[in-house]
């Protein structure tokens, strides 16, 4: 599950190393013709750098995203839910595995990426810094966060980098099952006992703000991404994706008799655009910079898993092994 490229690498590249203009023109022409770029093709340094950043963030989001839901596997009520939730969280880890492999084709090893995750150098989707307080939170996550992620991932699967696109196509297929699972779970609670209904409404209230943050800051303030759009790295604007999400899911939320905790949320009948209150972008910034409710806990868990598993990884390594970048 992944929202959007929340942080792009804004550091300037070494100005003494300039991409060959002829190769660059050829590269841009290929992308304009809709061709995919493959690992051994020539690519601008900036393209490689931003793609690594994006795919890596996506991969981290998958494995960190497994944590808030994963804590409910041991508490899932009944066989059906328990099996489905294990399978769902397992899928998310599998997505992480696929995406780390896709990023590795660009020249950064999985180990380096995980080290950067743990040190806090690279980011992951902001929503996973919020806690899943009740069982109903897992239902809301599986439905609406996965729904938001699908919108982003379907857009990105039409991007220009072959290995990432192929990974995303498979991921989207699996995510569509998660969405069905999440929706079924929300419907069961929303049409269940008064207590269950209360649980799911409260979960929706808690998650609404992170959901509104999910696709990233408004286009008016988000970092200039014209080149990344031309290179088909960034495929849809944050606002476009947020609108698509609201258009598809707010009516479904209302159909279930649930309310959205924003009195100003409405679709403007004249413009067709959804209007809403400011979802507190200052909080978004605070959380992404490390000061959310669960940032420290998430990284601490990941660090613990890495440290405790070190002896296993070392036992797999042979002295004569050397790192080989996977092809695709």
């Amino acid at each position: 599950m992944y929202g959007n490229l929340s942080v792009i690498d804004a550091q300037p590249l070494d100005p003494n190393q300039v991409d060959d203009p002829e190769l660059l023109a050829e590269f841009e022409a290929r992308i304009a013709r809709g061709e995919k770029i493959e690992p051994h093709d020539w690519m601008p340094r900036e393209y490689r750098r931003q793609l690594i950043r994006m795919i890596e963030q996506h991969a981290h989001s998958e494995i960190i995203g497994a944590l808030p839901e994963g804590t409910w596997i041991t508490r899932a009520p009944g066989f059906r839910r328990k099996m489905a939730l294990i399978a769902k969280v397992q899928d998310e880890i599998g997505h992480g595995q696929l995406l780390y492999s896709a990023a590795e084709t660009l020249g950064k090893s999985r180990e380096d990426m995980i080290a950067d995750l743990i040190s806090g150098k690279s980011k992951y989707s902001n929503v996973f810094n919020y806690p899943a307080e009740t069982w109903a939170d897992t239902a809301v996550i599986a439905w609406l966060i996965d729904a938001g992620a699908i919108i982003n991932q379907v857009a990105n699967s039409k991007g220009s980098y072959g290995p990432y696109c192929r990974a995303l196509e498979r991921i989207c297929q699996e995510e569509s099952f998660h969405l069905k699972y999440g929706y079924d779970n929300v419907v069961t609670l929303a049409t269940g006992t008064p207590k269950q209904r209360e649980m799911v409404q409260e979960a929706l209230n808690r998650w609404w703000k992170p959901i509104m943050h999910f696709h990233g800051p408004p286009d008016t303030v988000s970092v200039h991404t014209e080149k990344l759009t031309r290179w088909k790295v960034k495929m849809a604007s944050n606002d476009e994706m947020r609108q698509e999400f609201l258009n598809a899911y707010v009516p479904k939320i209302w159909d279930l008799g649930l309310t959205v905790p924003d009195p100003n949320l409405r679709k403007n009948p004249e413009t067709g655009v959804w209007e809403f209150s400011d979802p507190d972008w200052a909080e978004f910034k605070r959380v992404i910079n490390g000061d959310g409710p669960c940032n420290r806990e998430r990284l601490a868990v990941r660090r613990m898993a890495e440290e405790q598993g070190r002896w296993v990884r070392e036992a797999l390594r042979k002295p004569d092994m050397k790192y080989v970048t996977p092809l695709s």
């Binding site: 494995i63 497994a66 944590l67 994963g70 409910w72 596997i73 041991t74 508490r75 899932a76 009520p77 009944g78 066989f79 839910r81 328990k82 099996m83 294990i86 399978a87 969280v89 397992q90 880890i93 599998g94 992480g96 595995q97 780390y100 069982w135 069961t188 269940g192 006992t193 207590k195 269950q196 868990v301 613990m304 898993a305 405790q308 598993g309 070190r310 002896w311 296993v312 990884r313 070392e314 036992a315 797999l316």
Partner: protein
């Protein structure tokens, strides 16, 4: 002779083992030493949950309650799992050794049960056996890798895990009150026969991993689970497992 009681006891022991080890294995989801192991333990957990569900369904057909009520509605003393499966996941060494010793016994048990005179169990055993084959392939590969082909540390850790888990694993074969009936009826040849095969089978893999099995005379099997006497770990596990279900056991979740 009360062969239904004998059959129920056998089914419950097996179903509870599968449920509780599935629960423990699922705790690795998100925390494995490598992502591939998260995924493997998650898969194994799903299969084992499925096995326990199949067994509880047979119990239901013998007049028991429906599977969710049995799995999520009983108190600790009503469980018949062996103590081995109750222990927390500990380190990967402990979990892997438990997985290996448990699943070897499990595969051999279902191979025996394929020939059971109780047909619903024989049919289920064939299905389950096909899945456990892969669980054991996974366990055997890792035991050999971490035991013989890994590092000094991994070998030492696996040997120490074997020393710790072996007496607990012997608890799998705690004799029931119905051994004679089950064997006479052709339902199940018995825990002692299973244990004999298990000792022969684990010896082969342990040798590949250059690991040494503690002497049987030097250890005390962890018995009690099959009679409802459990470690201090089972109650907290059940409290956690049933936390949401208990909000309203009559509700649909």
């Amino acid at each position: 002779m009360n062969d239904t009681a004998a059959l129920r006891d056998l089914l419950l022991r097996m179903a509870d083992d599968e449920l509780i080890i599935a629960h423990r294995n699922s705790e690795w989801t998100g925390l494995g030493p490598i992502m591939e192991e998260d995924i493997a333990f998650s898969s194994i957990a799903q299969d084992k949950l499925g096995h326990s569900l199949g067994l509880y369904r047979i119990l239901e057909s013998l007049g028991g309650a429906e599977p969710d009520a049995v799995a999520f509605g009983r108190s600790e003393g009503e469980f018949r799992c062996c103590q081995l499966v109750e222990y927390p996941i500990g380190g990967y060494d402990f979990s892997l050794m438990r997985h290996f010793l448990h699943d070897t016994a499990e595969l051999l048990r279902y191979e025996m049960l394929e020939r059971s005179s109780f047909e619903p169990l024989a049919r289920l055993a064939t299905k389950i056996k096909g899945e456990i084959k892969y669980h054991l392939f996974h366990a055997n590969t890792w035991i050999a890798q971490l035991g013989a082909r890994g590092s000094e540390e991994s070998h030492a850790r696996m040997q120490s895990a074997l020393n710790e888990v072996f007496p607990l694993a012997l608890g799998i074969f705690e004799p029931s009150d119905y051994e004679t009936e089950l064997a006479a009826e052709g339902i199940f040849p018995g825990e002692a026969a299973l244990r004999g095969k298990w000792l022969e089978t684990i010896a082969v893999t342990l040798e590949k991993g250059t690991l040494i099995l503690p002497s049987l005379d030097a250890v005390t099997p962890a018995y009690g689970g099959r009679k409802g006497y459990h470690t201090e770990h089972l109650k907290p596990l059940l409290d956690e497992m049933t936390e949401v279900f208990r909000i309203d056991p009559s509700a649909e979740w």
